[in-house]
């Protein structure tokens, strides 16, 4: 099937997440070999998602676990779970 650019925008997220059928994937890839705009759109959004995933490495504040334990200690020692 021949896709137009609007169709590519709509499927952009699903394409990058691998949540589309093999047929649609093939059609999208056929389109982007012909369309530089859509190719740039897919590439840039892909790069952005990779960059965001990198943020996962942001560290916990120093002493976080200790303070959490302290906060929970009293509750865990005294409460009853009903």
């Amino acid at each position: 099937m021949k896709l137009d650019c609007k169709h590519i925008w709509r499927e952009l997220s699903n394409y990058l997440d691998g949540e589309i059928s093999p047929d649609l994937r093939r059609d999208i890839e056929a389109h982007v070999t012909q369309c530089r705009h859509c190719a740039a759109l897919l590439d840039s959004t892909h790069n952005l998602i990779v960059l965001i995933a990198d943020e996962r490495r942001l560290e916990l504040p120093v002493g976080f676990s200790g303070r959490l334990r302290k906060r929970l200690e009293k509750e865990l020692a005294t409460s009853r779970l009903d």
């Binding site: 925008w9 790069n47 952005l48 942001l58 976080f64 779970l81």
Partner: protein, 209 residues
């Protein structure tokens, strides 16, 4: 489900049984793999580390108190992050005294056109490495509307699946996908704007005698 995930799930259910059976200390072991994700979820909604830490503590407390109500068809992590997101939203509401009712899924159905394709520039691969770029990204995430920031945080920062993300936000998977698409496109546009103005500033500095 892969064995590793099933093993972890069974292990978690065992720990939950122990906590509910009175061995409250096991709660620490249950939550320790999720401290980071809980904090990040709160942080990305609130954008202030001290608030995020408090909300994270509240979320863990709440999870402990209501552990008996956890239904085991869901993943423990999904349930925990939903509590966290709710706590963070409540905090935000208190802080700003604004209603988040605009999150209604009906808003997802209207048609949307991204900015002109001719304006789009590739985000260069080498830019991924620079600290400055990371700062611009954090600024761009912070500039997103709340409902977009939430979904980007859960799906792309925390790496949850679409199904888990939808469950945490109380959306259908279809609506979650639509919102995610909008959020990613808007974030990309915000980010590109910032990259461009940064490049422009650098070029004008270099051009100066």
């Amino acid at each position: 489900m892969p064995d590793l995930l099933a093993d972890r799930k069974n292990r978690e259910f065992e720990l939950i049984d122990r906590v509910l059976g009175g061995h409250h200390e096991s709660f620490y072991e249950l939550i320790s793999p999720y401290e980071h994700r809980v904090f990040m979820t709160a942080y990305d909604i609130l954008q202030v580390a001290a608030d995020a830490e408090e909300v994270a503590q509240e979320a863990f407390l709440k999870a402990f108190r209501s552990l008996r109500s956890f239904r085991r068809e869901a993943q423990f992590s999904t349930w925990l992050l939903r509590i966290t997101a709710n706590e963070a939203r409540m905090r935000l509401r208190k802080r700003r005294e604004v209603s988040l009712d605009s999150l209604s899924p009906n808003h997802e159905e209207t048609d949307y056109t991204p900015i002109l394709l001719a304006d789009w520039r590739e985000i260069p691969g080498e830019a991924l490495l620079r600290e400055e770029t990371r700062r611009l990204l954090r600024e761009s995430i912070a500039a997103l509307p709340e409902n977009y920031r939430e979904i980007i945080t859960l799906r792309d920062v925390n790496g949850l699946s679409t199904a888990e993300t939808a469950e945490i936000l109380g959306l259908s998977q279809g609506n979650a996908k639509v919102r995610l698409l909008r959020a990613r496109i808007m974030l990309r546009d915000l980010f590109i704007e910032r990259l461009r103005s940064k490049t422009k500033r650098r070029l004008s500095r270099e051009a100066a005698p």
